[in-house]
């Protein structure tokens, strides 16, 4: 038997590491990976809650989150490739103008 609090704390820790990645790193790809990590930590909390409540809703929400994450990655990586084509770099410090 594992307390649900442990899962909550693990989820909070993983989320914070993801948030730190977004704040600290300059590589747009790694910032993107950190966002995936944050989504994943939220998924973990949702499945843990669903497991305690003995309901399928948590799992189904996670299923939708995974689908949305896949869509988000497809569009986001296309955007990063486009930015790289115009700027020759994916350093977010270089992306300081809206003009392509």
């Amino acid at each position: 038997m594992v307390e649900i609090n442990y899962y909550i704390i693990l989820s909070a820790v993983l989320f914070t590491i993801g948030a730190l990645g977004v704040l600290v790193r300059r590589n747009a790809l790694i910032i993107f990976m950190s966002i995936e990590l944050m989504l994943n930590s939220a998924n973990l909390a949702m499945v843990a809650f669903g497991s305690v409540l003995e309901s399928f809703s948590g799992q189904i929400f996670v299923f939708f989150v995974i689908a949305v994450a896949a869509a988000e990655v497809a569009v986001g990586l296309a955007l990063i490739v486009e930015i790289f084509k115009s700027k020759r770099s994916i350093d977010v410090d270089q992306m300081n103008s809206m003009k392509g």
Binding site: A12, L14, N27, V52, L53, I60, A67, A69, L77, I90
Partner: protein
Amino acid sequence: MNLDLILFLVLAVVAVATAIGMLLSRNAVYSALFLVLNFITVAVFYLLLGAPFIAMAQVTVYAGAIMVLFLFVIMLLGAESLPKAEVLPWQKPLAVILGFVLIAEAAYLLITRARPLGQIAPPGDAANDPLTLQQLGMSLFQDYLLPFEVTSILLLVAMVGAIVLIRKERRVH
């Protein structure tokens, strides 16, 4: 200290260590591989929580498809590591301090406020029963039919969007 708790702690250490490895790796390829390991660890957590379907979806979609896409783009762009440049020197320490504030705040609020209470039992035989999967599918296609269909449209739009973004523009004179 029971077996479940030991398993949880070992997996938690692996999950946090791989997440920190992703955060600190200089090379983006190493970051991506650390993240794959993290996703697989989370899939094992899903198995512990009695959600085998989500665990398999996690492995195929996240650790499989999404991370392969990431690795493709990293290698396509040749952007494994960026040249060193410190634009905002106070940003990193501030981010670490704010991160600890966030973790304390999130854990405090999640533990003290309204939430489902209780202990998570190890998954019994029911978790692997096809009947459970059948119930999950019924719930997905009956109670959540509209969100499911909307998700398919979302995936279509994302696919078209990615193609439109990557497509070479033809200049018309």
